[in-house]
Subunit: 305 residues, 2 copies
């Protein structure tokens, strides 16, 4: 089934304890598409400046990503420059240059409007709401957000919650949005305002998926080397939504699997800079990692007499 | 099979955002015994002052805890006073009064020396080593430790590693001991020095069990209210060792189950002050929580076409 993502397509410059990368592919829609395209066709809506290296997107097109909704505007592309030090859970933003992204008004091409699955990447919640007026009746709409919007656009963000089925956010954002330190309470607070699916990401500590009926937990995959954490969250979302779009099934059993596929794609994303590792991964590698996830948490109940 | 614990038997005064408790039962051996005794008979070796409220230990005796190794010495009992604020992961120690514990030299009673499972609670590694000269050939010896011993008794602690089968420690202690930020590398560092089983506890973020062959992860049970985290680690160890002693089986499948039983007992421990909740829990409640752990992480692999 068709999967639409609206978000940023950017150029990242990243410094980690293991190396540096300059002006490499980045942005929420890029990571999302690179991840999801292993599982499903993906439609991208975003904006880049007229100097964006369009050729660099070719490998994504070959994986079935449709950039018909990627606008090219006069001006410079969105650039992010960041650094990770010892604690790879925290990105230090050195520079953000919005460029053409500051005037981004998503326009959904007619052929994308019937998308069954929609992911609203981390952009202004007013734009996320506007996207929803441009699509038909998607089966599942998920959104992401960040502390900046929680602080500056809280009423719009709360309004958005009433119009989405699912939200992904990290633990500190969940606490900030809901003013609940406890994540179960935070998830309930959010579910009361609309989404029936709340995914709270805890970085290296895994992710919770809350629904009104159940709680599911997926650990982060234990890696000896986390090379560059940039894009892990969007790669998670891409794996999650890509799996759902491929299966066309949003039963609890399938949502749980989708969280694991998302976690697996997130674990690949951090093994190299940019989307490099995501582009290498094939289905057998993905299945092997999902099997490793299973072995990581598998146990049989049984109480000896 | 018999299970021996050597550790502190103390009086705790604790302040949390939810209430206060004064001079209640505490100490590593106490939490361990309260937890393990639901699954196995437990033998305790420790020391208390002559004013210790021995009657308060009666409920543990009724659960099959044998205090024949609990010495009563002239002087005051070990007292700890601590506070938890908003972040329940961190205890702020307000006062530590070692009392008779500062001269503790564990003496294992003859009838305890054949114990099959031995847990060396968090005491001076020189004393932990000494205990091992007093027991016959246990099937499995596990130890705990803390930052204080890592800093002040590192050579003895590293020597101890060569004489134990398993160690439990928290993530910051594992990093401090090994100087590896990555927990997989930290576990390998430790395994190279002796233990074939390394359990790294991450508090509210769950626990890893590393063996040379596999990695197992157990989440912490998501609770809406964590009332008092004191003793969670020792209750985890009690559930883990209690399960192993009950089963008399240290296969990988059983070790995984033991980690879950430990996590379940740890999750009960934090629901009330002191060992109060541990003394209430019965086998059906424990089994129900283990089933909830299973549901928390359960997923079926399957990749749609």
């Amino acid at each position: 089934m068709s999967l639409l993502v609206v978000g940023s397509v950017a150029l990242d410059s990243v410094e980690t304890p293991f190396g540096k990368a300059h002006d490499v592919l980045g942005g929420s829609a890029t990571f999302f598409a690179a991840s999801a395209s292993l599982l499903s066709r993906v439609q991208v809506v975003g904006v880049v400046g007229d100097g964006y290296p369009m050729d660099a997107l070719k490998p994504l097109e070959r994986r079935g990503v449709d950039f018909a909704g990627l606008e090219r505007a006069k001006g410079s592309s969105f650039r992010w420059r960041g650094r990770y030090r010892h604690d790879l859970n925290f990105a230090e933003t050195l520079e953000t240059h919005l460029g053409v992204f500051s005037n981004f008004h998503p326009k959904i091409p007619p052929q994308f409007r019937s998308a069954s699955f929609v992911f609203l990447g981390n952009i202004d919640p007013r734009l996320q709401l506007d996207v929803l007026t441009q699509v038909d009746k998607p089966r599942l709409v998920a959104c992401d957000t960040m502390n900046f919007w929680i602080e500056s656009r809280r009423p719009d963000l709360v309004k958005l919650l009433g119009h989405v089925d699912a939200i992904t956010l990290n633990d500190s954002e969940a606490r900030q949005l809901t003013d609940c330190a406890n994540l179960i309470k935070a998830a309930k607070w959010i579910m009361e305002r609309g989404p029936s699916l709340v995914i709270i990401k805890k970085g290296e500590h895994g992710a919770f998926m809350f629904t009104p009926e159940s709680v599911f937990f997926a650990p982060a995959f234990p890696l000896e080397e986390v090379f560059d954490p940039t894009g892990a969250g969007d790669s998670f979302a891409g794996g999650f939504m890509g799996y759902l779009a491929r299966a066309g099934d949003i039963s609890d059993a399938n949502l749980r699997r989708a969280v694991i596929y998302g976690s697996a794609m997130g674990s690949f994303a951090v093994e190299k800079f940019s989307i490099d590792r995501l582009l290498e991964v094939d289905a057998p590698q993905l299945l092997a990692r999902v099997a490793e996830f299973r072995s990581l948490v598998a146990f049989e109940e049984e109480m000896p007499a």
